[in-house]
Amino acid sequence: MLQNLKKSILVSLWFVFLTFPLMVVRVNTMDQVVIWRWMNLVWVAVGSFVLSYLWRYMLARQQVRKKVADEGGEIRSKTQLLLEDMSFRYKAMGFILLAALVFPLVFDTYQSTIMISALIYVVLGLGLNITVGLAGLLDLGYVAFFGVGAYSYALLNHHFDLGFWISLPIGGILGCLFGVILGFPILRLRGDYLAIVTLGFGMIFKVVMENWGGLSFGPSGIANIDKPSFFGMDLNLADSTIYIYYIMIAMVIFTILVTMRLRNSRIGRAWIAMREDEVACVAMGIDIAKTKLSAYALGAFWAGMVGVLFASKTTFINPASFTFMESAIILSIVVLGGMGSILGVILGAFLLILLPEYMRAFSEYRMLAFGAAMVLMMIFRPQGIISNLRQTYEYKGSKEKKHNV
């Protein structure tokens, strides 16, 4: 305790010394005077002291926890225990659903639009969670599937006047198809090589869309894409935003339901087994090729579907929306939220999309904060916000059996 304090004070003094020329001294070259900003010195000292102390405290806490875990003690935190309480879970879910449903009626169009983009990332995160979190296949080009969905709706709408609702499944299926196309060449790859190839795939998509003018109208993109129709009625901007918001809520619920069922199904278990140990997995009679392809296809399906919605929401798309940065953000959502955990990914998406949106005042420091948050996260909670929980099974027959024998 005392030692921590002492060390933190030393750190803060060191920082004061380091930042002194930058933060305190300012030379006004016009008037040839030196301005001393002593207040900054205090801020640096206090700030670095607090951060350093917090850092030490967290590290110490992690050590203690590890020790408890090694001795077989309870390592689940209070929040985790709360999450496992079923009645609390239902209450929380009901409350969240209610809040989600009244949200666009209470807040204005701007807020709803932000929320829609957060929900889009929720679906993208959940989709990538299948590929990365469950099946353990790193995918750095995930945004390409998102783009496939968006472009398929834009082009179908532009050329054939197809509506949103027909295009939605088509976008998903096309995403799936591209997932399989990407899946085939990388069946044999793993680790770093897999990352490079998927990265390349994402790049190829963008470059093709930029340069194949005949198909995609090049960098100028496609404009005037129809918004989703509501039984043939034309909606004004505010109403259609609310409408899209509700579509998005429905899509998120659908995604959660499906991924939850898949996770605890025969296929889901095969994905996780493949993530854990490929050699053992194949020795247990699981067809790796089939399992990998299905993981890519199902991951890409959601990106394709939500891509259609993205195109209809913005009514304009061009290749600039589908950069590597997007892939990186979606991957960060999955890693930050907790690989394989559905609730974690949802929280991660809200954090990573909403925080920058509401912290626009500090947008200059966005990347700095982002990087710092990632580093801290990897040190203190490498398993993500919510760590992966597995379904437990109760077998009732066993007790009766024991009595019989």
Binding site: L262, S265, R266, A273, I286, T392, Y395, S398
Partner: protein, 266 residues
Amino acid sequence: MSEKKHKLLEVKGLTMDFGGLRAVDSVTLEVYEGDIAALIGPNGAGKTTFFNCITGIYNPTKGDVLLHPQGLKTRRLNALKPNKVTEMGLARTFQNIRLFPDMTVLENVMIGRHCRTQSGIFRAIVKTKGVREEERQIVESSYHLLEKVGLADFANEFSKNLPYGAQRRLEIARAMATDPFLLLLDEPAAGMNPQETTELEELICKISTEEKMAILLIEHDMKLVMNISNSIYVMEYGKKIAEGTPHEIKDNPKVIEAYLGEETDA
């Protein structure tokens, strides 16, 4: 004794080359129904490579691997992928434990049921009655297997949290879940203390008698091998140098030489 035993696994002249190195040199081996056969030999003799050839991890350079399940057609196993070999009825464990650490103990065994069940993606999403019934059966049979190896109390623990000996037993349960005719165990007693080894010995005998599975195991623990196996194959430098009952092997000069070195007159 009883009538002539049915030949289950037949390996004929199996050879495996890695470039210029012949790791397994025309090894012939047979395992009979109900047998516990052991494959022994000094380190680097090619035992694990031999296992990997049978189970499809390597594709053997020469030779045949044939499985004759009783009352069914003969199945040729070479050049099949490992998952196909498992489907054919040959399951294995690994020398260095290869469990799925972040899955529960029960789920590890449930993975073994994968190749004997078939519900696909769409039915899993809709969760049809058939899928639910299949899931129930998977849980039930996996649970029974856990009871058999004495791990039922740990069913919902993460498998990485199990003690070492229990992990070994879990690996055996997982292999058994694939309903094999023949169980291949790669050094099941490695790293176990004497008590755990005794328990393992009992477990292997139990599997052999109760489940009617033939067992082929690689092992360095001679006491275990001599106690439980009824036929032993000895390998050295990729070649099979002896075969026979434990009694014959014990006194075989070639085997003694392989393990202890040649006697010199010095």
